[in-house]
Amino acid sequence: MLPMTRRRVLLTAGAATAALAAAGCDGGDDSATTEDLSGNRTGAMPDFKAGTQFTATTPLTFSILYSNHADYPLNKDWLFWKELTKRTNVTLTTVAVPRSDYEQKRSLLIGAGDAPTIIPKTYRDQEIPFVSSGAILAVSDYLDLMPNFTTKIAKWNLGADLDTIRRTDGKFYVLPGVHEEVWTDYSVAMRTDVLDKLREPVPRTWDDVHDALAAMKSAYPATIPFSDRFGIPTPGGCLLSVISAAYNTAAGWDYQNAYWRPAQKKFVFTGAMDEYRNMLQFLNTLVRAGLMDREGFTQEDDAAIQKLATEKSFAICANAQSIVNDYRPALAKTHPEAKVAKIPQPAGPAGNVRRGGRLENGVMISSKARQSKDFVAMMQFIDWLWYSDEGEEFARWGVPGVTYTKTPAGEYRYLNGLDGTLPLQQKYGFFNGVFAYGGSTQLLESMFSEEEKEFQKAVNAKTTLPLAPPHPLTDEEQERATLWETPLKDFVAAASLQFILGQRDFAQWDAYLQELETKNMSAYIDLINEAYQRYAKDHG
């Protein structure tokens, strides 16, 4: 419980703090720590600054929870480990966990008090259960040890983004991955050759999508042009998340019970919004006209890909990888002439907007690390590996002259017969999801294909929807909210599908709202709004 009860004094010393202040970081009282860290400086560099190569002054070892990816299974002989030790004098000991069940093991290890020191791959809000017991460190208290992180926050103006992950005490407990710009990957993919043949332009709005699908349907009456994937475990997860942004609401993967209305300065219940209903109605039109596959909301990915490959459908959700790894290879076997590509997320009633934040999953730190002698060195190490330009480049591209080379124009080229990210991962251990994410747009795009860069350019022209302000709940509120949240969420998901598939008539919308009410919708939203106002008052 140590970091929570302690009242902090603002110190103005330190370049990091100055940078933060300059960034206009409104919510936090992140500051140079008032704690005495003199006993925790073993191996630490006394003059560690942004841009300095971190090298521990004595050899150090840190334990890390490692999410083991099936496509590039952990290999202790990877160049990554050797080079990391060479550069930083740090050896990481991994507790390897299959990625499929990573979260369960993490919660078990933290619960049993047996967690490794560094706990990466923590997605948004996943840290909340561990905050109140004091099991994980309030990292915002120690930002002065992390010059690279603070520099990036200041340079990229990420203060408001960071505020969204603060808890009731105004602190944050995860060091998130940070992006220079909003980056959205998922969108709708279409058979562009079919569009060309039908003389249909690439759809720019959802109404265009409707027309294109209708044209496909009339040309190929036996098909159901749009058959989606990514429906497990969240039905329609991807499609709903993409289209809901265009309606200025949230659904699918992005569904949260509370939705922020900047104009009214309050949260409303997402599943009860008019925008939400309009979105459902639009999808229902598609389903009724036979343009969208009913099964698409719940089917397995393979089934959807099969339909695309056998021309039972022409449109499907996609990210950059699935185009290259799934759709094109599948179509190449059956219809070599086929062309499939991502289209920029279609615009909708909310205009040409997109949703997205610039924070990614990140690192939690066990609070017991604070007691260890090499605590400061560890923070410096994390700062270097995950947040310095050199560390990010190293984790992503590897070692110059071995895995890549850089042209004078700053373009990266693979070396040693590498021809893509997978061999880089499998053979050398770089571009590993545990270590490589976030970073500057230039670095991010360094691995994109030309096609993907084009796509990103089109997407970047969109307006980004505003971020919801922080509204952290207290322990007691959190417990209550959790018990309301799940049934509400489940009910909205089920009813949404029923409306879309026509199993429920829109005349019953009011009855649906009534049911939400019996499931404590208003009480829940009140709780969230109170939390928002309280936080704004305390930390605003």
Partner: protein, 303 residues
């Protein structure tokens, strides 16, 4: 089916029986054939997939006959050193855990089968109670960790040493054995241990074979204990490998936000790994089944 019938004629029977005897074996054979068909169909799909090309699977051409026959994936999976390391672990874990489980289960089941043992009710109660009340995940984890069993085969073998379901089945079997042999042996001066080893166990081959099969299949297929208590890849059993392959692919994209939703695992890598995992059990099974047969003989001769 004709042969089935002629064969059954070779036994003395009444006229009424003979009447039915014509129809029944046919019906029986038909029913069992249906069982076989329904059961085999999905397996045939997996095996067919494992030998098929990726494109053919994706385009839905593969049902029970492989299309685009190739062995690339087999070579790929079998050339993965981790796969074999994990495979060996599975064998070691299964054998160790089964031996431990058989010893403990047999001892306890035998004790419980003695109906006039004082305190027997309590002993049974102690076991049955644990079928319903269990400790949570975290207390179990803390226990295994503080006993220092983590990252060893004992973390898998010891906490699962007695399955109460198996225990009760075995106890029921022991109870059904005629008591007079044991009594005679006791009169001859054999100790309880001697009776168990020399009289009871030889009579119990059928149930022992069954239990070995039950336990070994459970341990072979189990992944959760290993997932909980093993921290290193080279300690994982092949089930964890397989699970990561299958579930990993299924959940890869559901997180939705991260860049590392890379290449989806190929559908036939899953099929191949599945075939390779199930295969040993299929191969070992007929040998265990022989013991069923000898158990039958013994039971019959003994009378």
């Amino acid at each position: 089916m004709v042969t089935v019938r002629t064969r059954s004629w070779s036994r003395p029977r009444s006229i009424a029986d003979a009447e039915r005897g014509r129809v029944f074996p046919v019906v029986n054979a038909v029913l069992l054939s249906i069982v076989v068909l329904v059961t085999v169909y999905p397996f045939a799909t997996i095996v067919a997939r494992s030998f098929s090309g990726e494109g053919e699977i994706r385009s839905g051409q593969v049902s029970v006959i492989p299309r685009g026959f190739n062995l690339t994936t087999y070579k790929l999976v079998m050339s993965d050193a981790t796969f074999w390391v994990n495979y060996r672990n599975t064998v070691v874990y299964t054998v160790t855990a089964t031996v431990v489980a058989m010893v403990l289960t047999t001892c306890y089941a035998y004790v419980l089968s003695k109906k006039n043992l004082k305190g027997r009710g309590a002993l049974i109660g102690i076991a049955v109670f644990t079928m319903f009340f269990t400790g949570g995940l975290i207390p179990n984890y803390v226990l295994v960790t503080s006993l220092g069993l983590k990252n060893s085969v004992w973390a898998i073998a010891l906490p699962n040493a007695i399955n109460v379901f198996n225990l009760l089945v075995m106890k029921a079997f022991f109870e059904s054995l005629p008591g007079d042999l044991e009594e005679a042996a006791a009169v001859d001066g054999l100790s309880t241990y001697g009776i168990l080893l020399r009289i009871v166990l030889p009579l119990s081959k059928a149930v022992i074979a069954t239990m070995v099969l039950f336990y070994s299949v459970t341990f072979w297929n189990s992944w959760f204990s290993a997932f909980l208590y093993m921290d290193r890849v080279d300690l994982f059993p092949v089930t964890v490998y397989l699970r990561n392959l299958i579930a990993g692919a299924a959940t890869a994209t559901s997180v939705g936000s991260s860049k590392d939703s890379l290449a989806q695992t190929a559908a036939n890598i899953q099929a191949v790994t599945m075939v390779l995992t199930v295969l040993p059990i299929m191969l070992v099974y007929p040998f265990i089944q022989r013991y069923f047969v000898s158990g039958v003989m013994l039971g019959a001769v003994k009378g």
